[in-house]
Symmetry: C2
DNA sequence: CGAAATGAGTAAATCGATTTATCGTGCTTG
DNA sequence: CAAGCACGATAAATCGATTTACTCATTTCG
């Protein structure tokens, strides 16, 4: 086999030292840019490095160092556009600082979240970017506090007593959605969400409610929250819409506080044969690529993934490098993309004519 | 600060040894399950471990070991459902074997792909699961060969002279799509794809063509391939459809060989005001959650993510543990979900009536 | 001129484990 | 009774770097 040979041990710093005729310490100095090395020796070392194809072993290097150049990232899932892009951004930023990002998914389980974190602690990561399953008061954040780990919380958090937090300003975005809907004449609106995230959900609800009622004090706002997963939500929503049909009253618009809720709402519309936006309007929190190519194109709140990632990493590195001061809670503004899925309320023929 | 104290050094194996009144070697033995340890001492060690909250440092542990318990995974992106789920599955499987998965995204760049791989080589990972940007002949696979790394190639590959490969049987799936379309009477079909992946694209094209022509020898199959990115494809497609309208002939169905192509096709339909499936049918390779909740629901080929991940990991661990033998090329069967986006050809009123 | 400072380099300790070689015991066994 | 052999345990080497402490020349300067 041609590469049986290539498989053999990689050159170590000692191999380089030997070939260059200097000590390992000198090689280390040359490679880390210390200046007290004779020109001649530096050249010999560099030649040897080149010739042997030597590269520092990051594990061995980190062993001796005080702080390992590894950053952990924990997200509920990889496959959503939001978290996928988030991890990608975090990855780049970590690399730019000479760190390696080790990403793991908690799969929406708080137990797993803590397990992963414990493992990252074992790895003695320099810091962690945690997007908690639930919120900042979960077990993982508790573990980080108890163990004096360095970290930043993102996404489903508002603020924390110990860690910096960075998240989308979903309250403001929700208020904007409310204004758009109320402004178009909607007076009966359904909000769907996940109860788990407590504080953030409350912020979104409050933001929406305040803005809607300010514009239309007579508006009716229903809320359907599911505790944990998607399927319960589907059932809840089915019940809710069933009740509506019985009573002959139906919301004219739906605002979903999370991506999967938007999908569930759409599929319920479809099940009942409701046309969007003719029969009912829809806005979702969280944008996705497909939303602009389907019929109708779905209106959505776009989260500033890039900015969240950047500020999270900036805050994290500041702490890693010893930055002091009280934890900061950062909110990044969202963008609302109004698309075809929002129209005037059903039955409001005048408005529809005026628009068409 | 309450946790300033917690922040201090974690206990090492020596701390445990001291507290248990034995040597570090004994502690190591107890923890790795070696039996030649007195009951009494084992108990003392376990007590000390418990009391100190000791956990093995995986870095230090891997240093001394012959093989580091780290598996690298390289995918083009995290945010697609396919690769997102893939990484999640690989993560679980690696953990089940006591390994840590370090995932990285090549962002569809072959240069970056090789860089990441070099970094993983520096980490001396036990093995790599690589989903190449292009195909099995890219620079990353070359690097792995040249350096005698252990690895498995997945997804955009057919077979390789050195590495085991696992991918979806997209040729068979394409043939099935062809039969469905031709069977419904479509005689002018457009295939859109990315030229980059050469061999796999060819396999899909051939699979489709053979099956379509077997059923309908008079069928016309057009192909639009873009070289690299999505935007060029959009332009190509726009030109193609423009030409169609001029000549007054238009394909009655589109089969997209990759997810983003499906999105682009949809958005082109939308731009031209073509209704799907009334004006034109659509099937996409690669399924996504949204496809079943939109109007129309989009027909798609579902890739067996789980099976691919499982076989890839099985093959990888077999090689890591010294398994010999020629590389195996595995193809996993796909499932085709026919949905509303496929109907009879436009203009074929009879068929449409018969169906509705 | 002798003391102090600087420059260039190295041996050895260290990080936190695993593994090898070695060392006493106590028990068989010829 | 001496040699042989398990059995349990440990000291020390090792993995591949970084860093500390120290040596030996050479300069610089009072």
């Amino acid at each position: 086999m041609a590469h049986r040979q290539a498989q053999q041990r990689r050159p170590s710093i000692h191999d380089v030292a030997e070939r260059a005729g200097v000590s390992a310490a000198t090689v280390s100095k040359v490679l880390s840019g210390v200046v007290t090395v004779k020109q001649e020796n530096a050249r010999r070392v560099l030649d040897a490095v080149e010739h042997l194809g030597y590269r520092v072993d990051p594990l061995a290097s980190d062993m001796r160092r005080a702080r390992r150049r590894i950053i952990g990232a924990i997200v509920p899932e990889f496959e959503s556009e939001f978290f996928g892009q988030m991890v990608t951004r975090l990855e780049s930023l970590a690399e730019e600082h000479g760190y390696t990002l080790v990403a793991a998914s908690s799969r929406e389980s708080e137990a797993r979240e803590k397990e992963i974190l414990a493992r990252m602690h074992d790895w003695r990561v320099a810091g962690v970017v945690l997007a908690p399953v639930r919120n900042e008061h979960g077990p993982a954040a508790g573990f980080m506090k108890a163990n004096g780990m360095t970290g930043v919380l993102i996404d489903r958090v508002l603020s924390d007593a110990v860690f910096d937090t960075v998240s989308a300003d979903s309250a403001a975005a929700s208020a904007q959605v409310a204004r758009e809907l109320a402004g178009r004449g909607h007076r009966h609106i359904l909000i769907v969400g996940l109860g788990e995230q407590a504080a953030t959900v409350r912020a979104r609800l409050d933001g929406f409610r305040a803005a809607a009622l300010a514009l239309a004090p007579d508006a009716r706002i229903d809320v359907v929250l599911a505790e944990s997963d998607v399927e319960p939500l589907r059932a809840r929503l089915r019940d809710y819409f069933g009740g509506c049909e019985e009573k002959g009253e139906r919301p004219t618009a739906v605002y979903s506080l999370f991506l999967r809720g938007t999908l569930v709402a759409l599929s319920e519309f479809r099940r009942r044969g409701w046309r969007c936006p003719d029969d009912i309007s829809l806005v979702g929190f969280d944008d996705a690529e497909w939303m602009q190519v389907t019929w109708p194109a779905i209106a959505a709140v776009v989260q500033p993934v890039g900015r969240i990632a950047e500020h999270a990493m900036a805050a994290l590195f500041a702490r890693i490098e010893g930055g002091e001061g009280p934890p900061a809670a950062r909110l990044e503004p969202c963008r609302l993309l109004m698309r075809d899925s929002v129209g005037p309320p059903a039955g409001n023929a005048a408005a529809r004519e005026g628009r068409g």
